[in-house]
């Protein structure tokens, strides 16, 4: 049961994981990051991504766990 101390369900059940959301409108354009969602598992992250970023008729959408992104460098680094 995922109810918090006040008797309400926690805002995110289980361990919250951040996912980056990528999408594109046509086959010709590259996938680009359109936002992120927080969810306890992949199933819910897919449902949330689809519901949150449905303002366009995307031909492709994908999500990636943020922890799985390998950064080579960040802004401000040489």
């Amino acid at each position: 049961m995922s109810k918090g101390h006040n008797g309400y369900y926690k805002r995110v059940s289980g361990d919250a994981v951040e996912y980056e959301v990528f999408a594109r409108k046509t086959r010709e354009e590259p996938l680009r990051q359109v936002g992120s969602v927080v969810a306890p598992d992949d199933d819910l992250a897919m449902a949330y991504a689809r519901a949150t970023y449905d303002e366009e008729r995307w031909c492709e959408m994908a999500i990636v766990r943020k922890e799985h992104v390998i950064e080579l460098w960040q802004p401000g680094e040489p």
Binding site: R11, V12, G14, A39, P40, D43, A47, Y48, A51
Partner: protein
């Protein structure tokens, strides 16, 4: 009971499911869940619109004038009679009932009736995300009472083993009958329905439910667009 009756039941239930989802668009446990509730509500209202549009091509439209005055003429499950007061009720409907409706849509899409094969296919793609949402929340654990109630109403909605839904299956118009729909629902949810005895003698073949009752007066007014008038009068005063 004809195929049109089944499609009307599906349309009415999808409309009520969409409406109940939408009621939770600002009350779900997280902002993401709020947005998902709104999006799923919009999907199901859209699905009901498509399903109502299938009635005329199917032949006999079972909708009569009584739908404007009698809330019991709306063919919704008892689960939707009253607004939900607990998130568990939302999750049980999302996981069990929404999936039950989807497996019947599958049976229509894989059946022999061309208008249903063509027009309902897209719903299956959209329903995938409802299923993922419901399954994930279900796994996080919810109260047993709404869960058992949703299972019971889903199995009742599929119909009795020797009823007309079975005949639609035998005729090929549906690709699954009640037993196959039950099995498919369990397979999709990766769980078994709780043990239950269903008294089919008191089952209403038109409304596809055993429990008496109807949607509350306010919801019935909303369905007919009358709630809007209430606000219009307040503005004039």
């Amino acid at each position: 009971m004809s195929l049109s009756d089944l499609v009307l039941s599906l349309a009415d239930n999808k409309q009520m499911l969409g409406l109940r989802y939408a009621e939770w668009a600002t009350r779900a446990p997280s902002l993401e869940a709020d947005i998902a509730a709104a999006a799923m509500g919009l999907d199901d209202l859209g699905h009901s619109r498509v399903l109502y549009g299938c009635l005329e091509p199917l032949g006999a439209d079972p909708r009569g004038p009584e739908r404007e005055s009698d809330p019991a003429a709306i063919r919704n499950l008892a689960y939707f009679d009253e607004p939900w007061t607990e998130w568990s009720q939302f999750v049980a409907a999302n996981a069990i009932l929404d999936t039950a409706f989807t497996v019947v849509i599958e049976a229509c899409v894989n059946g022999s009736v061309e208008v249903l094969r063509q027009r309902l296919r897209k719903m299956l793609m959209e329903e995938r995300y409802h299923f993922l949402h419901g399954r994930s929340w279900l796994r996080s654990g919810i109260d047993v009472e709404p869960l058992h109630r949703a299972w019971r109403e889903a199995i009742e909605w599929f119909g009795p083993p020797d009823g007309e839904t079975t005949q639609l299956y035998k005729d090929g118009r549906l690709s699954m009958g009640p037993a196959e729909l039950h099995e498919r629902l369990e397979e999709r949810l990766e769980s078994r329905a709780p043990q239950m005895d269903i008294d089919w003698k008191h089952w209403d073949a038109i409304r596809r439910r055993a429990k008496p009752g109807a949607i509350d007066e306010r919801t019935f007014s909303m369905l007919r667009g009358l709630e809007e008038n209430r606000f219009a009068q307040a503005k004039e005063a």
